[in-house]
Subunit: 346 residues, 2 copies
């Protein structure tokens, strides 16, 4: 049984932990808010479960809690930020503000971050972009987890891509996806539950299909659409790891917080047509797509719709946290002399 927690309590706890391990109050706030927003969207793999890994990373000297963030390049629409090995949330949040102002001024903005650790869920950054009535796109590359049939080692990360379109007020279309068929967390869960995984999710160490989650964990994840998803992950690896001057997958250590580079882009829609015209047509589009004839019980949903539903529910009912993670929280709370988050249903 997982316990439920109020998102503000989790954010408070997270903020206190990150301040205790050396982050400034402002930076601890950025990280904690991002983690909790991931949980609120239902993406628990990118939520507060990461606190323990990041804490470890700081202790081992692999994550810098007190970074000197530098701007390496800054020419009208383009910029590159050096994250000084801190958690990517901090420079990526900066990059997002910068890309928004660049897009407003120049029509387009393109901002990269290198020398960073985990940026977390990309939808967080894209949400800020679409809230400013801009089109947004973000990518990031990570350590290898994906391979193809016959490969004995993974070659590219699950390298996510997020794309966002503003719609109206708080509504928006945000696609945030990794290039693997499923997240690695699903293999870990199947292993814990001692159940098989479907063929097509992963390969073993010899590059063969496997339904055994433990073999899959030692092996690699399969990309969506075979060479297509592999090619997309490769392209993201090259953009973030080579064009931006970050680090590509094969050069990265496999940790819970590796990240090679991050790129965010924003575009002013009224470059092409008036924003009002765009808005009218995208609303019509949503209506038309949703009117697709479907079988009973099937619902046509846009990217971000389920996530918004989960957010509304979790704000009210609380965020579920696995017992093992909660035990870690209690341990961290004791270590740092702070209060652990308080379960709602006790």
């Amino acid at each position: 049984m997982n316990k439920l927690f109020h998102y503000k309590d989790l954010e408070r706890f997270s903020k206190e932990v990150f301040q205790k391990i050396g982050f400034s109050k402002e930076h601890a706030q950025i990280i904690s808010n991002s983690l909790v927003l991931a949980n609120l969207r239902g993406v628990d793999s990118h939520g507060v479960v990461r606190i323990q890994y990041y804490t470890e990373g700081v202790k081992k000297g692999l994550i810098n809690p007190n970074p000197k963030i530098k701007t390496l390049k800054n020419e009208n629409f383009f910029s590159i930020i050096d994250g000084d090995k801190t958690l990517g949330y901090i420079p990526a949040t900066l990059a997002t503000s910068l890309v928004i102002s660049k897009a407003k001024e120049h029509g387009i903005g393109l901002v990269g971050v290198i020398n960073l650790r985990h940026v977390g869920m990309l939808a967080n950054y894209i949400k800020k972009v679409v809230n400013e009535k801009l089109f947004g796109l973000a990518i990031a590359n990570a350590s290898p987890n994906i391979g193809l049939h016959g490969f004995k080692k993974p070659v590219v990360g699950t390298n996510p891509l997020a794309i966002g379109f503003p719609v109206d007020g708080s509504k928006s279309i945000i696609l945030d996806m990794a290039m693997s068929v499923v997240a690695k967390g699903k293999l870990l869960l199947a292993s814990k539950k001692e159940i098989e995984i479907p063929k097509g999710w992963a390969l073993n160490e010899r590059g063969e299909d496997t339904t055994n989650p433990n073999e899959a964990i030692k092996g690699m994840l399969l990309p969506i659409g075979g060479y297509k998803g592999f090619g997309l992950a490769l392209a993201i690896d090259i953009i973030c790891g080579i064009i931006l001057g970050g680090v590509y997958g094969l050069k990265m250590e496999r940790t819970w917080f590796s990240q090679g580079g991050f790129l965010i882009s924003a575009l002013r829609i009224d470059l092409a047509r008036s924003y009002d015209e765009y808005l009218r047509e995208i609303k019509e589009y949503i209506k038309e797509v949703k009117a697709t004839p479907v079988s009973e019980g099937v619902k046509v949903m846009f990217p971000n719709e389920i996530e918004e539903e989960i957010t509304r529910r979790r704000i009210k009912e609380g965020i579920p946290v696995e017992d093992e993670t909660f035990e870690e929280f209690v341990r961290l709370a004791k270590e740092y002399g702070i209060s652990p988050p308080k379960p709602l249903n006790l």
Copy 2:
């Protein structure tokens, strides 16, 4: 048995047909060169087989052979071109030249085309961009062919995406992919051969998995990665069909030459780092990826590598054309009083 033809002879024939149906010599050359380049890359679905469909389109007044191409917007890095309902090859080739000069001047270029018909294989445009030592990206949206389980109608096109990285001389990395698991042509081929298709390729008209190619043809294609590929196709539909002011999938007629919009982007790599540094690292990357340990008989290949191999072979040995298509050529040759292409192996 398919006959083989010299690519120059196919190009000559194609050029003569397009001139006979009203295209200028220059435009006929652009279209014919693009078709033959698709065949040379092994993408026969986008090659000379299309001549008969385009001819039909012109006869029905759906394709304009004598367009007045207009620039609707043109502000430093950004432009939109109106294709005046002609085959997309013509305005998209113009857009590609424009995007290259914009990227060279401003660092980035972004050029859209609306009011157009089929643009063909996107790799053709991206190849021109990478040949100028620029990073390139192109997308296009088409009439609906993809749906999800439970959908009784397809909602989005297979909406291709092409991404390219320059490497060295004629070498480059070019990913050109549609968002469906397989091309519709594979269903047509299975139907002709009266063989089953694997589960996971397509759905029937009730949105259920099917292994019957005829049911699949009446139904829809499945996207790569389920909602992920669907989301990507949707995003491309919105960018090309709504942001650019083109036409989105559901508003398009389903023909062999429908296209809603086309967008091409080019980026100067030295915005971020010196081109020489980039080149050194991408070559190292290719070497490192290719050194992945693999099972016997498996080869690690980059996007564009197989296609370049096929090109070399087909330049020498000829391009295979299906007998039915050749019969159409003979018919068209008679109709227009020109010589049909001459099979190499007769």
